[in-house]
Amino acid sequence: MNFSNFLIMRHEILLLAITLLLLVGEIFIPKNKKESLVHLAIFLFGIHTAVGFLQLDESTLFGGSFRTNNLINFFKNILNVGVLIILLQSADWLQEKIVNQNRGTEFFILLFSSLLGMYFMISSGDFLMFYIGLELSTLPVAALAAFEVSKRISSESGIKLILSAALASGVSLFGISLLYATSGSIFFEAIIEVITANNLTILGFILFFSGLSFKISLVPFHFWTADVYEGAPISVASYLSVISKGAAVFILMILMFTIFKPLMHVWENMVYVIALATMFIGNLFALRQQNMKRFLAFSSIAQAGFILLGLISGTQLGVATIVYFVLIYIFSNLAAFGVVQAISLKTGKENMNDYNGLYRTNPNLSLVMLLALFSLAGIPPVAGFFGKFFLFTAAASKGYYLLVFLAVVNVTISLYYYLLVIRAMFIRKNENPIPFFKNKIYMRLGLIITVIGILVLGLYSPLYDYIYELSSVLN
């Protein structure tokens, strides 16, 4: 075995090294200088993100347990960019609230461990690696959700997440064991050869699918979402809503387009039903929310429903549109969460009513929020429009016209509640609005990157072409 082969695990090795380095730093850096670790962590992760864009070879390791190719590498880069934005947006919160409790490094270590788990999950070549990755990605997040130990609601959020996640993992594992029972292997390559649509396999698939649906918050596996988002620190909620969801979408897509392809005639109906349920339930609940975090939680559930429209097409076009959509969704949702976080940190206010008249006092933040919500709602010419439009094209190209029509109805409903926030910010008057404040440099950077993403991604078509090209590996 050539050690240079390990370089295809560059993402994993580098992230692990950073995590360990921070751990060492935690031990040796004196208490009053812990703040510098925040800068260090962000700096190192920035480098890690940049290095990720270097070309990687397509290869497998550990007898096929670990594999990588350009598409998988691209997934990891998307996740990296998302995490980097989250780190930038949470730096102020960490410095003001967490570092003085001497727990700043803990946050990074947990977050990076979870991200490491996602890398392994996406790169997995068999169900064992997949499962280890899944667990590694979930458990630290539960700890993160309960991170603000002084708040009861945060602890509640952590416990709800860990209980639900345990249930989901258990179901998933049961499904995996059934698949092993019918196919006699846990290696994806081997399963592809023998899989057929018998009842036990389908049952195994449904159980497996349910477990992953939990991470993507598909209806009816979504109940934890709003409660956990509401209680968890905002950085963690945004991590759950974009990174965790994105990673799960990627691996689900990989598996459904490869080993479960022979079951497509079963799962396309299932995805159809779940897509509709998810869009409608997510939107109907989002309508009523007053708390911005709960609001974004249900909005993110509805967005997951749209993603399924790309999945159902089962084509290269579907893959490309999903990846493109997730990429745009990450930028849009992080912009929205970033604004909520900035306001929450300065004023502690998280309700929609508190946003009344925000435009008068904080025009820049309001405009970022406006862009983010336009993108989430899919209003041209911001990126979100193209993301949704392409997803609909993918579903329509397979003849799912009714589904696309109902999705458009859902876009209309979602437009209503996104506009509620915009109305609050721009039109509603307020006796004592949120006073003007200036964000620190990290937060500003975090928001600027998202804004650039929202504005540029929709118009820079070579990117979509590039994704489309990468997507060919799944066909």
Binding site: I159, S164, S210, F221, V266, R288, S461
Partner: protein, 639 residues
Amino acid sequence: MNFTYIILIPLIPLAVFFLLGIFNQKIKPAVSGYIGVAGLLTSGILSFYTAYQYFFVHGKVAGVYQTFVQKTTWMNFTDTLAIDMGVLVDPISVMMLIVVSIISLMVHIYSRGYMKGDEGYTKFFAYLGLFSFSIFGLVLATNLFQIYIFWELVGVSSYLLIGYYYTKPSAVSAAKKAFIVTRFADLGFLIGILIIGYYTGTYDFETLNNPEGSAILNWAATSFMGLSALTWALILIFIGGAGKSAMFPLHIWLPDAMEGPTPVSALIHAATMVVAGVYLVARLFPMYYFIEDGFALNIVAYVGAFSSLFAAIIAITQTDIKRVLAFSTMSQLGYMMLALGVSGYEGHDGLGYMASMFHLFTHAMFKALLFLGAGSVIHAVHSNYLKDMGGLRKYMPITNVTFLIAALSIAGFPLTAGFFSKDEILVAAFEHNKLIYGVGVLVAGLTAFYMFRIYFGIFWGKNTQYKHTPHESPLSMTIPLIILAFLSLFSGFIPFSELVTADRIGFEAHLNYPLAAIAVTVGLIGIGLAWVFYKKENDLSDKFANVFGPFYKWAYHKFYFDEIYMFVTKKILFNGIAGNIAKFDKKIVDGTMEGIGNKTVVVSEKIKGMQSGKVQDYAFAFIAGVVVLAMVFIYLWTN
């Protein structure tokens, strides 16, 4: 052959626009004027360099001027149909680069004097930058969609500039009118584009215009209401062009557009934007010519000829000098259109095409000069009306002489620029269509008459007593006048027939002496009549107006076209049709939508209990979901 740097020509004015637009408040007015002029000067130098490179170094291969295209795909519709962005270099685009950069630069310089002290000085130059960017982009477009995008951008900047004095209600309504009328015409343009995309599978000018290409060879493949689909497309595209170029009956916005600052009128509504329609037809000329034996091209010819005559008659009666010039512009645009309309394709047969482009060029020079001269006069006497002017030659010698040169040029006085281009147009018309030739000669006479009517009215005529003694304009305004006067005199000697032709092969054009003699005689008669009527104050003109009575009144009121449009839009469209549609919309469409909206809220209220907050309930739902999925998809829905 690398023409990549050409992209800088539009991008520099765009950069100026952003710079001045964003730092509007922070830049001193004087500085912003210099920034605008410097930007345009750079673009202008690049344009001239391009022209030199194209016409004299790289452009000609084996006697034929080539088309150079550099583009990148912007958006894919299907495997074949894509929207590209890029630059296209061929004789007419290079010629337009020259026209636009000269006029725009002159107007920039002139505006530094004319707009001095205006509150929105910086904003004005920002808008000029936006306009220059758009028109450069339009000229360089490689395909129909790109030209459409810039077409609309030009419309927007025109809207902004007409409505520049936004505190004046008349300016605001003029801006709206221009925008709405041209937008309405652009609807035709867009439909035409889509038809072409649908039937030919491409938007690229190069592919579409290829005489041996499938678009032209297969035009007869589909027919619709007696004509081929592509002919319909070309007619619709011409409607778009007619809107921008103020052809009858879409001309009504142009006179009102004179509410904008005068330099804007010179730049946009005389020399550059309004010729976009002519340019569009010229751009698609092979399609117009070959498809269905030039059916659409005949429409172009007759619309052009009619507009030309119609506008010339109205111009005689107007008393606002800018409006006279506006109708004169419309009339000359009609001239260019009719020249295209009577043109053939190959060799000397394509004289009309070349003459049209030639006239576009010379007209840009002398008409911009006329407008800038008028601006100089208005600047001095603070009025647009002939009655407030007279005897100004004593006070404004430079303006007087330059205006006279421009007037001679547009009247076709021998050896001025207008003489040559107009002669070519008349020759082309004479060879192809005698009726149109007759109209052309008549218009030539009318043009000479109304132009000298205002010339004598402004600079000679009665000795008006002025409250403030008028004085010559500052150097920043007179220098552009002098440069343009020079061009109006001598640009006729440019050998256009060697450079810009329909089939890209140069030919020798000679003066046709008999026809030239006729045109000159008619022009001189026009000038002579104006001399008799207006050189000295007398009541001859009023007597004539009385003799023509009702006809004069008609023409003075522009044949009541505004009133007709008002009647159609207000009475029929708004009250008759739109009112009922609005009721339907309110009661039935809105009613349904509100019903759905209310139901959504009700449902949302009803299901809120599902989210109980108890994790055991969530686990139950999870397991129940798994079980239901398993039951449904294993036992009930197995195909």
